[in-house]
Amino acid sequence: MTLFIEQCLNGLQFGLLLFLLAAGLTLVFGIMDLVNLAHGSLYMIGAYFAATFAAWTDSFVLGAVLALLATLVVGMAVEMIAMRRLYGRDHLDHVLGTFGLILFFDEAVRLIWGPEGLSLPLPSWLNTAVTILPGMQYSAYRLSIIVVSLAVAVFLYVLVMRTRIGMLIRAGASNREMVGALGVNIKLLYTLVFGLGAALAGLAGLMQAPILTVQIGMGENILIVAFVITVIGGIGSVRGAFIAALLVGFVDTLGRSYLPDLLRLVLSPNAASTAAPALASMLIYLLMAIVLVVRPEGLFPASAK
């Protein structure tokens, strides 16, 4: 039972991290109609900045805050320099342009930080396990990821649902042309939305860095999962991204945990141990396929079209 609770917590943590990444992606896709493959690069930049600043300031929290601001700045700069040329163009142009950005960022990181990657060690007060239930311990850091991500999710909810800017964001996701026609400064809105997405991606990147990795190309694998979440949740919808991200997080983690045992019931142990890891990594794509068949526009589509 404790194993199940622990796996659920792991799934929740993974899902929330994915939500941070997917929220930015879905907002940019929904409001600006921009397929941004370079979102994974912003994730990577966030992690690299965090590792560097944490080493400079000798403080994990300070390094993280500085990295967040730096990623926000980089995101807005990228929007002003590169993305503005891509608005209104075909999605394939976006793919080509942002793919070029991926290559640019990978090489830039390699030139600045070297090819070997960095590490972001945790301060000792986070590097322990806390007792959350009698007889059950869980990593303090993963708990803090859950807490921070939930706080950001609440912040996003308040921002999107209760503020003027959020209203503009929802309107833009719903019908972009109308918002422009109503005299809103669409350029500023776009820069802010892109910057917000970049900051969220950077936050996700720096939060997973102590657990996973800080290396060149780390954004590419997880970007695919972020796109899967965007598709499942519905383009332009932060609520959809939240539900879909949690769904994907649970399916992936619980699938990886329990599929080998399930397979061992029907297959020989040897066949099960070779098939299970492969099948487990396919589960989220199966989920996406099912959603596409049942509800092609996603679970909570934002736009009326």
């Binding site: 194993l3 792991n10 993974f14 090819p115 070997e116 590097n127 322990t128 311990q137 993963r142 492969a278």
Partner: protein, 391 residues
Amino acid sequence: MRKTLLAAGTALLLAAGPAMAQQKSIKIGFVSTFSGPVAVIGNDMRNSFELALDHMGRKIAGMPVEVIYEDDGFKPEVGKQKTQKLIESDKVDFISGYIWSNVLLASIKPVVDSKTFMVIANAGASQVAGELCSPYVFSTSWQNDQTPEAMGLYMNQKGVKSVFLIGPNYAAGRDMLAGVSHTFKGKVVGQELTTWPAQLDFSAELAKAKAANPDAIFVFYPGKAGVQFLAQYAQAGLKGKIPLYTAFTIDETSLPLQKDLALGVPGAQEWVNDLPNDANKKFVADYMKKYPGHRPSFYGAQSYDAANLIASAVTATKGNLTDKEALRKAFEKADFKSVRGNFKFGNNHIPIQNFYLQDVVKDAKGDYVLKTVATIVKDYQDASHSKCPMK
């Protein structure tokens, strides 16, 4: 038309000229990973190979040595492509390197078919030691089973009664986990294989291991994954609760990142930097002099031995590279000073060697270093040698 023909003819002559003026040299191809976070391993191997060539004066049997390094990018299909390029296009006389067992298995056929001698400096796929063994393939490393089998023996010595195995789902990972089961006398209470190389989050597997409550956990995660595993192990609250036994997870390339997390975690290895023979002392000292701030790892030690093995074979045949039979016999003799002391091959061209227990300690300067604590087993031969038809 005439001018074009004239120009083309001149170009051809100029291209042919330098080739005719070239001196006979020995060409060695070296396939390893030089990009991405695991490039640190490839660089260690290249540095050690270069150091060995420096020690020989960059000449073997009077002929200059040319090494062509190729990057397999951590992918089997790229490794195979680069191997074929080295054999067919660069026409190398010897081929060496290979970190990863899956890259090796993909690349071995073109080598054997072209009758090029190969000295594997790391990958230890069990098939290559068994049914795929070849008169042209030699290894200065080990067979994947050997090191975890040694660790299994050590766990028996320590009185461990139950173990949970975690490793990556590829050729070497499966070999390693199977190797422990061969010699470990206790009970294997669980085994988890993770997606390789993409999966770096081991939370699910660690949770399962915790729930199974074994006496110990055995893990195999080379390169960056080893750093992440140790970090998550500590974060899950397992450090100090369930002892960890490793193979190829802690080495001089990953130790600088693992630091405190690796203290007190034992590993089995056929080479540790403080082995007390002269060749090793020279290797380690000169490596640290040539590459300040870096220590050689076992990947480097094996590459250093590979270079010296090739040199010994070519010297024995007095530079005659066409007599393959004589070269093979010279390789099998392994008449060179290995950094691990005594060196001899089994019938399948895999070394029969000692395995040592290494532990991580802080030296006087506060650096993290690996120290030989004990010899687990002497002159240990791999389990697949009977599957190899060679005598």
